[in-house]
Symmetry: C2
Subunit: 175 residues, 2 copies
């Protein structure tokens, strides 16, 4: 499966596409960062994030999108911009009928490092190793986007199958 | 000028269109509330808000959109949904080239009641009176959306003209 991971942000929005199967190594398809100048107006910044996300969705045609879940416990000063960038990504995918899944930073960390409390350096090291890259993806937002995509391949794939199986056997039970 | 006011929210997003000129009474064009069920997934809720905003933008063709500014001081539990609904409204307008202005709740309150600390009841009373409505717009989100639109006609109109004049005479100076 081909997954787009999005680490949302207005100043830097990490985007990364990987291909893989649960329990098998993933392959890097594309990675990048959408940047918008903090001095620009919000409407222009949201349009720029949308243009970047649209390019990734239309060029790489992912089967699902994995977005980092925004918490109000995040840095309060940046939570609004993060939530708005996430909304742009979620809306772009939803408009195309692409399923969207959200993962907490801990879930993404645990998926690639085995620990939900791993630091940025450890995350980047593991993303580099798991995708067998010649050098670490930069900046950290790009590595985080790839970690979210890998997390979805490994966890989401299983979760989606369990959910589908659950729906078949126990209709109406929310899992 | 015809203005769409948006009081953003995922559960209830107030939308109101008024027509008027600075210093003159405004006329109600349309008012409503876009509701999305809290138990729905975020992608579906954002799509529903987008569909509602799109309908208002395309049917009433406002010259500008006035959106309540989201603060991180807001109720932290709801700030993410509010920020995301605001993003959907801002993006919809920006995509159509319609200027977006944001106003704080105090600015909208001061515009219609003369006091930035007016309560909901006072706001609704003044919106009803200013638009010469037979009965108060309900729920409060609808009245708030109309207050934002009136606020833009009265304040934003002036601000826009000052900005335009400033751009003509002092190019490059940010006002």
């Amino acid at each position: 499966m081909r997954i787009l991971g999005v680490d949302p942000g207005l100043t830097r929005c990490g985007v990364g596409v990987v291909e893989g199967l649960p329990g098998r190594p993933c392959r890097l398809v594309a990675v990048g960062v959408i940047r918008t100048p903090p001095e620009d107006d919000i409407p222009d910044r949201l349009l720029a994030v949308e243009a970047g996300i649209t390019e990734y969705l239309d060029r790489y045609r992912p089967e699902a999108v994995a977005v980092e879940r925004v918490f109000s416990q995040h840095n309060v000063a940046s939570v609004i911009g993060t939530a708005q960038a996430a909304a742009v990504a979620i809306l772009g995918a939803a408009r195309r009928g692409i399923p969207v899944h959200t993962y907490t930073p801990s879930e993404a960390k645990a998926a690639v490092t085995g620990s939900g409390t791993a630091d940025k350096r450890q995350m980047t090291t593991m993303v580099t190793r798991l995708l067998r890259l010649a050098e670490p993806p930069k900046p950290a937002d790009a590595a985080d986007a790839l970690a979210l995509a890998i997390c979805h391949v490994w966890r989401g794939g299983t979760k989606a199958r369990l959910l589908a199986a659950g729906r078949r056997t126990t209709k109406g039970v929310r899992t």
